[in-house]
């Protein structure tokens, strides 16, 4: 198999791969930012004191976490047109990825907030800080630091999940592999190159994760 590995074909398709690589990065980055916003909002709703909002957040989080991303993707992709809403494939993909990761982000953020000792929060209340001041100055800074490794882990998952977007014909890394496979009948070159690009992203994010963990341990000592 390796003797027959055709590097020239890969070189020929490199423009396609680099374009698709950027597309994967772009789709993941946009969804990640969206997921952070939605996750923060959902988490705030869930731990807030207003019952109906908390219930909505729980339903959102649990239903996302109990169903596969692919089913969610198909639900939106095939479901929105029957509601009369038309969206481009990219928008559908970003929407689904954002909603999906948002639920996991909400749980990660909640874990971070709950890791804050209640004494700190009580001290904040006793000092006369209001809810937003407590969030801003007491809860969020250490909570975000504590959740950074988990968030980077979710970013890795998000990049890998974006591969499913190829199934609704969005141009991204996996799609590039499929194109090379179907145009030249070269699945080996096609999918191994795709895998190599994903591994590149994975190793970068993984080293960021271990860096953030080390920083965290360092901070806990002091």
């Amino acid at each position: 198999m390796l003797q027959a590995f055709n590097f020239r074909i890969i070189l020929e398709y490199m423009p396609l791969y680099s374009q698709c690589f950027m597309a994967t990065l772009w789709l993941s980055a946009v969804s990640l930012i969206g997921a952070l916003l939605i996750g923060t909002a959902a988490c705030a709703m869930r731990i807030g004191h207003y019952r109906p909002l908390a219930r909505i957040a729980v339903i959102y989080i649990e239903s996302i976490r109990s169903t596969p991303l692919l089913a969610q993707l198909y639900l939106v992709y095939f479901g929105l047109p029957s509601l009369g809403i038309r969206m481009s494939e990219e928008m559908t993909g970003i929407l689904v990825l954002t909603l999906n990761s948002g639920a996991y982000m909400a749980e990660i953020i909640r874990g971070g907030i709950q890791s804050i000792p209640s004494g700190h929060i009580e001290a904040g209340i006793a000092s006369g800080l209001n809810y937003f001041q407590r969030m801003r100055y007491i809860i969020l800074p250490p909570a975000l630091g504590a959740t950074l490794p988990a968030m980077l882990g979710q970013a890795i998952v998000l990049v890998k999940d974006s591969a499913l977007l190829s199934l609704i014909s969005i141009m991204e890394l996996t799609r590039a592999g499929q194109i090379l496979t179907s145009e030249r009948f070269m699945p080996v070159e096609g999918f191994l190159t795709t895998a190599a690009f994903y591994l590149l992203i994975y190793y970068i994010l993984k080293s960021l994760t271990s860096w953030s963990q080390k920083r965290l341990i360092f901070r806990e000592i002091h």
């Binding site: 198999m1 974006s162 499913l164 499929q178 999918f191 994903y198």
Partner: protein
């Protein structure tokens, strides 16, 4: 119109139950296989000789760094190139087993490494064999750390099994995809698909949360 489609959907309910059976069968097969292989690899990764440890770590990184969809394509499209012809179903079970084995390996290794070194030294000093140390000392103490994420991993596995629909295994997601070609009501069809997944996954998620709460007290603390 809506009522007509609903009637059609209820008519194809047996198909959905068949898909549910396939999803369950594939998940259980790869769950059992993945757990056995994962525990085996995890024990070696936590305490074996260095080259083997390194090898397992590298393999786990490769699997964790690439999307499951790409792994599935590699097994399904590239293996025939090297002379291994697999049908869709064995290919799906093989790649799912491999995936879950890698994730479980990391969970098990993490659990074993979390047991204080003094415990292992005490066991060695008492003259227990390597197997006895693992069986009577390390594993019982590692189990509380391992169990909750292990059960969580099973949920991820069931959800990941939806991806095998892409290579033509007729699981729930595939049944939904086939049905939506006849009944163009995406929300309804994939709503049903989602509900079926939810019925399986949600109890397991609750069980995992319960385990996490319980295990807090059983864990070795120092």
């Amino acid at each position: 119109m809506w009522g007509y489609y609903l009637e059609q959907l209820i008519g194809s309910l047996p198909l959905f139950l068949k898909g549910l059976g396939i999803t369950a069968a594939v998940s259980i097969l790869s769950l059992v296989g993945g757990t056995i292989i994962g525990f085996f690899l995890g024990v070696i990764r936590a305490g074996g000789i260095k080259p083997v440890r390194f090898l397992i770590g590298g393999w786990v990184d490769l699997i964790r760094g690439t999307p499951f969809l790409v792994q599935l394509f590699i097994v399904f499209f590239i293996f025939p190139d090297v002379g291994i012809h697999l049908d869709a179903l064995p290919a799906a079970v093989l790649s799912l087993t491999n995936l879950s084995a890698c994730f479980i390996c990391e969970i098990v290794a993490g659990g074993i490494l979390a047991v204080p070194a003094g415990q292992k030294e005490a066991a060695a000093a008492s003259g227990l064999s390597a197997y006895q140390q693992m069986r009577y000392l390390v594993m019982p103490q590692a189990m509380p750390t391992i169990l909750p994420p292990l059960v969580g991993q099973y949920v991820l596995l069931i959800k990941d099994s939806s991806v095998i629909s892409v290579i033509g295994v007729v699981d729930i997601t595939r049944v939904g995809w086939l049905t939506v070609q006849r009944i163009p009501e995406g929300l309804m069809v994939f709503g049903l698909v989602g509900i079926l997944y939810f019925i399986i996954c949600y109890p397991i998620i609750r069980f995992s949360n319960l385990l996490e709460k319980r295990m807090k007290f059983g864990k070795y603390r120092f």
